[in-house]
Assembly symmetry: C2
C-alpha cells in the first residue's frame, strides 16, 4: 500500500475483487451491525497452530461476532451453517494473526534516524536528545498510528508495547482495531511525560484503571530494566501489577554490559537478581533475555516467565544471540518481537520468523534447530503463551477470539508449495498478507487497510521527518 | 504479483498509472524500436553507488539504447535533453539493479521440498533422488523461468548461475531480459545431463562458443567444488576458462567438513589447495568462502578472487558465518548471493542485504560493522567487481549498461526516510520494487512483470509440484 496512491489503489482493488469472482464478502461495517450472525472464511489451507499441529486442506473457519465459532473442513462448516455469508479463501493460507511480543511503536518516527553507530553514541547523541526534544502526546499519537497500520498491514494482530504517553498508544491501538498489551515505561530518570517516579506510578495506576477489562487493550506495568530501575521501584511496580492483576513487562539480560553491571552491583546475574527481588513470576513478559545462564533458564521455566525473543534487533545492535533452543527445550513460552523500529528498522514479524528459524541453526551448527513449525509457533501460540493470553489468541480453535489472517501464497517467490510451514516461514513476506481480521472485524482486505486516512498519516510523518532530519547521524 | 489475477491486476495498474498522472512513459516495445533516442528517468533520489557515494536529490538518469548516457540533476538533464521522453521517478529511489552473485535458479522447483533436515539426509534422501528422477531440460526451463521472473520482479537484474542443462538456463535468461553469468556444473559424478567428465567438458566448450560475446549472457566454466572435482579436472576446467577468457565459478570453503576433508587429503586448506593447483586468480567467482583462514583471506585478495557471500543460505544449512568484515578490509570484492531456492528458500536479494548488515554485527559484537552503505555496495558495485563486470554494471555512471531499478519508498514500513541507505537496507522489501530496467529495456513497471505468460508458468509449476510432492520430507 502506498500513501500517495491510496484512493486509486483501493478503487482498483475493489474492481479487482469483483473481476476475480471472489464472491460477496460482507463489508466490515455490515458485520459490525450483525454481531450475532455467523460468517465463514472458507476454502483455504487452515493452519490452526493448535496443540496437534492440525492443518486442514479445503478448510474453513466460522466466525460469530468477535469469536471463532467453529474450525473444520469447508464442506462440514458449509453444511453446519447453511445460511452463513461466505468469504472465499480458495488457494490461500488461513492462520492465526501474528503476535509481536515486544516493541516501542511510536519510535516508528525514528526509523532510520541513525544506524550502525556504537550503542552509547546512538543513545546519547541521537535517541535521548530526540526523545527529550520531540516526544510528546502528538508525536506518540502519529508514531503509533504509523506503526499500528504497518503491523496490521503485515498481519500482526496483537502487539506488546512499552513507551511513554501510553494512554495515547492504547487509544491508537483501540482506534485502529488492533489487540495490544500496553505498559507505560517506568524508569528512574525524568521521562518525556512523567518527570518523577511518583508521577509515573500515579499515571500508571490511572492508566490501569482506565483500560482494565477492555476487550482488546490489556494494560500492563512496564518497569524499563534492572539497570535503570532500583530494586525498591522494581518491587513497587510488581506490587502494582499484582494488585491490578495485569502483566509486567521488563527488559531483561539484553546485553553483556547489563549482566556485568548487575553482577558487580548485586553479585547476581539479572534473572537471579529479579527473582531475588520476588518479582519473577508468570505475569512477567521478559524482553530479549539474550544472556541467561543455564540455571537462569531453569529459573525462568520454573517461574513461568514469558520471553520476547527479538532476533533482528539483537543482531543489529549487536546484543548477542539468545539461547532460544535451550529456552524452548526448558519449556519456556517464547514469542517473537521486532523491538522498536528505531533499532530494527521495521515492524515486520515475517522477517523475525524467518530470521529466528535461520539464526539459531548457524549458531548451533545444526540445520534441524528451530524448525519452520517451531518458528511459526513462536509468532503465534508461543507468543500468546508468553503473554498469558493463550486461552484467547494464538491459534484457530473454537471459542478463541477471531484474530486471523489470510496469506496469498501464489507469489512467484512462494511457488511451489510443498509444506505450508516452509512456505509461511521461509518464503512469505508481509506484502503477501491479503486479509486481516481482529476480534471478528476485517481490518485489511485485498492487501489494503480499510477505513484509515493514510494521506493524513503521510502528511504528519513528513512533518516530523522535516523537523528531525537535522539530528540524523551516519558514520 | 499473483498468477491467478495477472490480467485484472495489470489492467488495474494501467488504470492506476494513468489516474496517478505518472506521465506518458514510452512502452518497452516502442523503445526497442528507437534505440538511438534518449529517455529520462527523472525526479527521484538517485543513489548512484559510484566510488564517491554520490546521492543526487531530484536526480535523473538519461538512457540511450542499452547504456547510461548521463547522470545528474533532473533540472540539468532536462535542459541537456530537451526533447527526451520523461518517465517520472518523483518521490522514488533510483539505484543500480541488484546483482545475485550465486544461485542455482532451476532449483526454484524444489523450494520448500524439504527443510530443517541434517545436510546429509537432505541431500541424499531428498535432493539427489529428486534431481536424478526429475531434472531434465523441461524441468530446468520451467524452474529457470520461475526463478528469473521472481528475481526480476524483486529488482535483481544480474544473476550468476551454476546448474545442469545450462544452455536452457542461458536461453531463459536471454528470453526474460535478465543479465546472467552462467556456468554448466562440472562434477566427478554422472549429472542429470552429462554422464561423464568428457561429455560435460564437450558440452561446456560448445556452450562457451555459443554464448561468448552475447550482450547480456556471459558463459562461464563452473567446476562444482574442490571436494567433488579432482585436482586434474579442476585444472582442466581452469584451462578451458583461460582459453575462452571467461569466468570460473567454484564453491569454496563452504563448510567445515569440506575444510577437514581437503586438509586430510592434501595437507592444505581449500583456498590454499586451489591456489596450489594454479587456478586461484581474478577470473574466479568463489561461492560462500565461509571458512578461509587469515592467510587464505590475504591470498584471495592478492589473487583478485571475487567472493559470493550467501548469508541466509549459510545460516539455514548451518554452514557457518563468513568473515566478511575481514574480507572487505582485505580489499576483496564481495558480492551477495541467495544460493539456490532449495536451501534459502527464495531469490530475494533485499533479505540478503538486510541479513548481511545485521549478521556480522552480532557475530563481531559491534554494531558499526557492515554498515547499510557497505551492505548495499555488496549487492551492487561490489557484486559487479566480484564478477569482473564493474566496467559495465553495478553503479549508475555514464557509459555503463542501463541496468537500474526504481524503488517506491512510501510504504508504511519505510517511512519516514532520513537516509536512503538505511531505508533501502533495513526497511525496503522486494515488493517495493516498482520499475526494473535491464540493458535499457523496461521489464517491470508498476510492480508488474511485462510481457510474460504467468498463467503458463503457474500451470507448469503446479504440474511439477504434484509430481514432486510425494518426495517431501519434514522432520
Amino acid at each position: 500500500m502506498r500513501f500517495a496512491t491510496l484512493l486509486p489503489v483501493v478503487a482498483s482493488c475493489a474492481i479487482l475483487v469483483l473481476s476475480c469472482g471472489e464472491g460477496s464478502a460482507p463489508a466490515a461495517a455490515d458485520r459490525e451491525t450483525q454481531p450475532d450472525g455467523v460468517w465463514l472464511l472458507s476454502g483455504g489451507t487452515v493452519v490452526t497452530m493448535d496443540g496437534q499441529g492440525s492443518v486442514i486442506e479445503a478448510g474453513a473457519v466460522a466466525i460469530r461476532g468477535s469469536r471463532i465459532e467453529a474450525v473444520g473442513t469447508a464442506a462440514d462448516l458449509g453444511e453446519r451453517f447453511p445460511g452463513a455469508e461466505v468469504r472465499s479463501a480458495d488457494g490461500r493460507i488461513v492462520l492465526p494473526g501474528l503476535i509481536n511480543t515486544h516493541t516501542h511503536v511510536p519510535m516508528a518516527l525514528f526509523r532510520g534516524l541513525a544506524d550502525d553507530l556504537p550503542l552509547k553514541e546512538w543513545l546519547e547523541d541521537v535517541i535521548f536528545p530526540a526523545e527529550a526534544e520531540y516526544v510528546d502526546e502528538e508525536f506518540v499519537r502519529w508514531g503509533t498510528r504509523l506503526g499500528c497500520l504497518e503491523m496490521l498491514r503485515g498481519g500482526t494482530t496483537t502487539f506488546v508495547d512499552m513507551y511513554y504517553f501510553e494512554d495515547v498508544i492504547a487509544e491508537e491501538a483501540e482506534r485502529c482495531g488492533a489487540r495490544a498489551v500496553v505498559g507505560e515505561s517506568l524508569i528512574d530518570f525524568p521521562a518525556p511525560d512523567n518527570k518523577s517516579w511518583e508521577d509515573a506510578i500515579a499515571y500508571t495506576e490511572r492508566f490501569l484503571v482506565r483500560w482494565k477489562g477492555h476487550d482488546r487493550i490489556t494494560p500492563a506495568v512496564a518497569p524499563h530494566a534492572p539497570y535503570t530501575v532500583s530494586a525498591e521501584h522494581l518491587q513497587a511496580a510488581h506490587e502494582l501489577a499484582v494488585r491490578h492483576d495485569v502483566p509486567l513487562i521488563l527488559h531483561l539480560a539484553e546485553d553483556m554490559s547489563e549482566v556485568d553491571e548487575i553482577l558487580e552491583r548485586t553479585g547476581m546475574r539479572p534473572v537471579e537478581y529479579v527473582d531475588h527481588l520476588g518479582i519473577l513470576d508468570d505475569r512477567m513478559i521478559a524482553n530479549h533475555v539474550v544472556w541467561p545462564s543455564p540455571s537462569e533458564i531453569e529459573l525462568l521455566a520454573e517461574r513461568g516467565v514469558g520471553v520476547a525473543h527479538c532476533p533482528q534487533s539483537n543482531m543489529k545492535v549487536a546484543a548477542g544471540v539468545a539461547p532460544v533452543p535451550e529456552m524452548l527445550a526448558a519449556g519456556i513460552a517464547v514469542g517473537l518481537g521486532t523491538d522498536g523500529p528505531a533499532s530494527n528498522n521495521d515492524l515486520d514479524l515475517w522477517e523475525e520468523i524467518d530470521t529466528a528459524a535461520k539464526l539459531h541453526k548457524v549458531i548451533k551448527s545444526d540445520p534441524t534447530v528451530v524448525s519452520a513449525e517451531e518458528a511459526l509457533t513462536m509468532a503465534t501460540i508461543g507468543g500468546a503463551r508468553a503473554l498469558g493470553m493463550e486461552a484467547d489468541i494464538g491459534s484457530l480453535e473454537v471459542g478463541k477470539r477471531a484474530d486471523l489472517i489470510v496469506v496469498d501464497p501464489r507469489g512467484l517467490h512462494q511457488q511451489p508449495i510443498y509444506d505450508p510451514y516452509s512456505t509461511l516461514v521461509y518464503s512469505t513476506k508481509s506484502a503477501d498478507v491479503e486479509t486481516v481480521i481482529v476480534d471478528g472485524r476485517v481490518l485489511v482486505e485485498g492487501g489494503e487497510l480499510l477505513s484509515e486516512d493514510l494521506e493524513g498519516v503521510r502528511v504528519a510523518v513528513e512533518r516530523y521527518r522535516e523537523r528531525l532530519a537535522g539530528l540524523r547521524t551516519r558514520p
